[in-house]
Every structure is written in structure tokens, then in C-alpha cells.
Amino acid sequence: MSTSTIAPNPSTSNPEPILQSGDPPSMPETNDKLSIRVRDLNLWYGDFQALKDVNIDIRKGIITGLIGPSGCGKTTLLRCFNRINERYEGVKTTGDIEILDKNIYDSDVTSRQLRRRIGMVFQRPNPLPISIYDNVLFGANLHKTHKQLTRRERNDVVQQALEQVALWDTVKDKLKTRATTLTLEQQQKLCIARLIPLKPDVILMDEPCSALDAEGIEQVEGLIESLRDDYTVVIVTHNMAQARRATDECIFMLMGKIIEHSSTADMFLNPREEQTEMYIQGRYG
């Protein structure tokens, strides 16, 4: 068994018969319900401390929202989970992040393996300037998970991924066109679709709807909803209504600290902390 991969989601229940090369047999299940576990996480951008003693447990298979006023560190925290913060100079982190019982800062975890397991969707849709087809298979090609597949099977992978995000019917006749010609909403769906062939355990989303119009928001929210159970979704949002509609649990952050973490219903109906209440009522901007 390879110890160098992040433990796979043992409950991967996707029905697609896609082979994942090197999937080890299921791990001993210690934290059955836990996906992400953060302990004493601190992060500095140079001298500025953006995260302060963050401790959270994010449950598996549900949608967790990250809310809080602008600049409180939501994006920063999210970008810790796939270690993409590391590309900035002067970022310093202390503490531990365990994802599916594996510390992502362990020396035997490469960012490549990590990011295969942890997909990310960005605020502005960022499909690559290559064809739609190649976009969907980009991750698969990169990680050579589908190398042994025939052309036909690859086509199936693309079709399944695009069907799952309800994009197949729109783009099936123009798979070879450049992905950047799609509408923003379609682009964002494509950005979710390109994660699917890799079957990540966790999908991180940073305000995935903020660039979309009302109809796009509805569509993408529906899509996120459909990802529940199969994936652990962590979503940053500024939109209170969206947090209420689309999440199961919410984490409220303020100035780099976690203030409250509870079920969405609890947070919005009877928040424990006064600061949470003030924010929800719209007093922090």
C-alpha cells in the first residue's frame, strides 16, 4: 500500500466504472465522519497574520460554508487546504491540517497528490484556453489516470463529467472549441466538470457564483447541491441567502479567527455568538 498518497475517500460511491490507478484498499477508518481537521493553524503574509489559531473539523459528505466579512481570511483558509497559498512569497504557516487522516504538511505528501484529491473552483471561472474536451481531461491527462483508456472510453469520461454538471447537451456539438468562448456560467460548470474525472475527495469553492447572473447562480447552486454525498464541499460565500440555501454547516470567521461553527439552521436561527448575529443581520459589510 502506498503511504505517500493522501488516504482516499473510502466511501467513494460514484457509480461510474472509471478506474483509478493506484487506489489503495480502504484505510482503517478512524475518523469516519471527518474530512478536514485543522489544528492550531496560523498563517502570515509577511508580517501580517491572516489566520489566528484556527481549529475546525469539517465533516465528510456535506456542504460547509465559510462566511465572514471581506478580508477576514476565508480565501486564505480555503487556499491552505490544497496548499496553493504556497505559491506566494513570504507566506508562513504553522499548525496542522489533516485531510482524511493524513497531515497535508507531512514531507511525504506532494502538492501534486494533494491537489489531485482536493479540487478547487475559483471566484472567476478559469477554464484553460484549450478546447472544452481537453479541459475536462486536463487533470486526467496530467495525472495519467486514464492513460490506458481508449479514445472511446475517454469520450465517455468527458460525457459523464459534462452530464454531471448539466453541460453536455449545450456543448456536445462543439467539444473542440476553445473553452474560453463559453458563457461565464458554462465556464464555471466546466471548471467543476474538469474535477470530476479525478474523483477528488474534497472540492473547495471560493465564491463560485459571484461572477454569475441570477440564473447562473441558481444553476450552479443546483449543481453544488448534487455534489453533496459524493464529495465534501467547502464553499466560501458572501451571499447570506446562498449560505442559507446551499450549505449544511457554516463557519463564521472574523479577522482571521473562527468565531462560530454550527449547522446552518442553528447559525441563522439562533447564533451562539453576538458577533455572528451582528454579521448575519448585515452589520459588518
Partner: protein, 331 residues
């Protein structure tokens, strides 16, 4: 820029009267400024046309024939044989018995030097551009960019110098050839000359790629190299192509350095160690000595027209290729 800063400072101070008079001055000056800009724009077009007309006109007598009166009432017409001109490798314009005006060897010389130089310059230039835009820290980047611009500012005669004084003995020592002025020498020198333009154009192209593309690639698990050739290169391919074509254009048009480094002997090359002669160097070396108005003189202008044609074809393919790439990916 400075004026704007001044204006800004004055507005924040609330110096209204100054601001108003400045505004009036601006309003009055506007038509003048617009006029000057128009002239600048159109003069570029005018110059190109004027130069082309001049060169073409000067080359025309070579084709139509030059009459010289050899005896009373007897006129001998000298005329260029266009078939010989384009297909013969013999260029002996000053021969008193039988001059020959074939530029095939010159064309082959130009192309072989340019081709070899671009073979060296493209990997070097692209590699440098990737390093400057993706790997170097801010400080290193600024320093490198300044140095690269400095490299571009070195006069070509100095490059020729380097070719003769440094490359020449190096090549003779390493290869055992008698003379080191050849395609290899000129190609290397020309490559070094076109690297700066390739670097600066392709570095611009790479840095114009939005950071979100890089993040997309990295977040999918690509390492830096994969991100560069699977994400950045496709995203920047138009600009990179333009950089390469500009490099080729630089190579074809270069005169002084190749005059000095190629060995300047008319020759159909069979190896990198053969000396050659280029179109540009031929014009530069011979125009001053050619008798004004005779066939040799006009033929040199015709070579100028050929160079024009080369430049035109390169620019046109550059446009078409870049446009084609764009169209294809936008269908």
C-alpha cells in the same frame, strides 16, 4: 506624466485659478496635438511607400534595359537576364569579360544563416523569457530585463567584431578549419542578436497570461513545468509565434554583423563551416563602388526589392499564422 502629477498636486492644494488657466491652455492646444499625432501616424505610411517606390524605381532599369551610346548613333542595351538572376549561383558583377548576376547563392547564404541562427535563438530566447517571467524574483527580473535591453542596444558592428575576434579563433581551434568566418559563426552571432527581441516579446506574451490560468493548472496538480508547457504556452502561443517571426525578420535584415562574420564569399554552402555571402551584405559592400547608373548598380537595387519581398512574406505569414491560430481556436 509629470504634468499630470503637477496638475494633481495643484488640484489637491485647491489652486483653482491655475487649474482653470491650465485647462484653457489644454483646450487650445488640443487641435494642434491631434494634428501632430495624425502627421506622425501618416508619415510612417508615407515613408514606407516612398522608400519602396524609390528602391523599385532604381531597380527598374536593370529589368527594362540600360542604353549606353558606344559609337555615334549606336546604342548598346544592357539588360539583366531574370532567369540568370534568380537561378544562377554565380555573382561576378565586376568582371570585365563576362559579368554574372545570379543571386541564388546569396539567397541560400541569407537563408542558411538565418535558419541556423533561429534554431539557436528560439530555444534560448523562449527559455530566457520563461525564466524571467515565471521563475525570477522581482529584483532579478528587473535586472535581467535591463541587461537584455542592453544586449539589444549593442551596435551590430560590435557584434561583427566579436564574431571576428572571439568566435573566429574559437571556431578554428575547435574545428580545425582554416578560417572561422562561416555560417556557424554568423549564425551564432545573429542568434545572440535576435535573442533580446525574442525574449522581450515572448516575455510580454507570457506575462499577459492571466494569473488565473496559472492557478487553474497548479490547482489541478500540475507542477511548474507542466503548468508552463500545458497552460502558459497554449495561452500565449500567438505572442510567442510573433516573437519567433520577429526574430527571423531580424536575422534576414541584419547586414553589418553578417558581412563581417560570414566570410563574405559567394558560395553555395554544403556545411556549417562553409563561408557564405548574404543579400544584405552584398548591397552594403558593393553599392558604394558600383558605377552609378550601370547594370550592377541597378541590380543591387533589385536585390533590395527581393529583400523587401522577403520581409513582406515574413510579415504576411506572421499575420496570417497569428490570425489563423486565433480563428481556429475561436470557431
Amino acid at each position: 506624466m509629470l504634468l499630470l502629477l503637477l496638475l494633481d498636486r495643484n488640484t489637491t492644494k485647491g489652486n483653482l485659478s491655475f487649474r482653470r488657466s491650465f485647462q484653457q491652455l489644454q483646450d487650445r492646444l488640443e487641435p494642434v496635438v491631434v494634428g501632430v499625432i495624425y502627421i506622425c501616424g501618416w508619415s510612417a505610411i508615407l515613408f514606407v511607400i516612398a522608400i519602396f517606390v524609390f528602391v523599385f524605381k532604381e531597380s527598374l532599369p536593370a529589368i527594362t534595359g540600360i542604353g549606353t551610346e558606344i559609337a555615334a548613333g549606336e546604342i548598346e542595351v544592357e539588360q539583366l537576364d531574370l532567369v540568370e538572376f534568380t537561378t544562377s549561383p554565380r555573382w561576378i558583377p565586376e568582371s570585365s569579360k563576362k559579368p554574372a548576376f545570379g543571386i541564388l547563392a546569396l539567397i541560400v547564404g541569407t537563408l542558411s544563416v538565418t535558419f541556423f541562427s533561429i534554431l539557436l535563438a528560439v530555444p534560448l530566447g523562449l527559455g530566457a523569457a520563461v525564466y524571467v517571467s515565471e521563475f525570477a524574483g522581482n529584483k532579478t527580473r528587473e535586472i535581467l530585463k535591463i541587461l537584455i535591453e542592453l544586449l539589444a542596444a549593442i551596435p551590430s558592428v560590435v557584434w561583427g567584431f566579436i564574431g571576428i575576434v572571439i568566435m573566429n579563433p574559437l571556431i578554428t581551434n575547435l574545428s580545425g578549419e582554416a578560417v572561422g568566418l562561416n555560417i556557424l559563426n554568423a549564425g551564432i552571432v545573429l542568434a545572440l542578436m535576435s535573442v533580446p527581441i525574442i525574449v522581450s516579446v515572448s516575455e510580454d506574451a507570457l506575462r499577459a497570461v492571466p494569473d488565473s490560468f496559472r492557478e487553474a493548472g497548479l490547482a489541478m496538480g500540475a507542477n511548474r513545468w507542466e503548468m508552463i508547457y500545458k497552460v502558459l504556452f497554449p495561452a500565449a502561443k500567438n505572442g510567442l509565434l510573433a516573437a519567433v517571426l520577429l526574430g527571423i525578420g531580424r536575422g534576414i535584415g541584419e547586414t553589418m554583423a553578417v558581412l563581417m562574420c560570414t566570410g563574405h564569399s559567394v558560395n553555395m554552402p554544403t556545411s556549417l563551416f562553409d563561408p557564405v555571402r548574404t543579400l544584405t551584405a552584398t548591397i552594403a559592400a558593393e553599392l558604394g563602388e558600383a558605377v552609378r547608373g550601370d547594370l550592377h548598380y541597378h541590380t543591387l537595387f533589385l536585390i533590395g526589392v527581393v529583400l523587401f519581398a522577403f520581409a513582406f512574406i515574413i510579415n504576411l505569414t506572421a499575420d496570417l499564422v497569428v490570425k489563423g491560430v486565433r480563428d481556429q481556436s475561436n470557431v
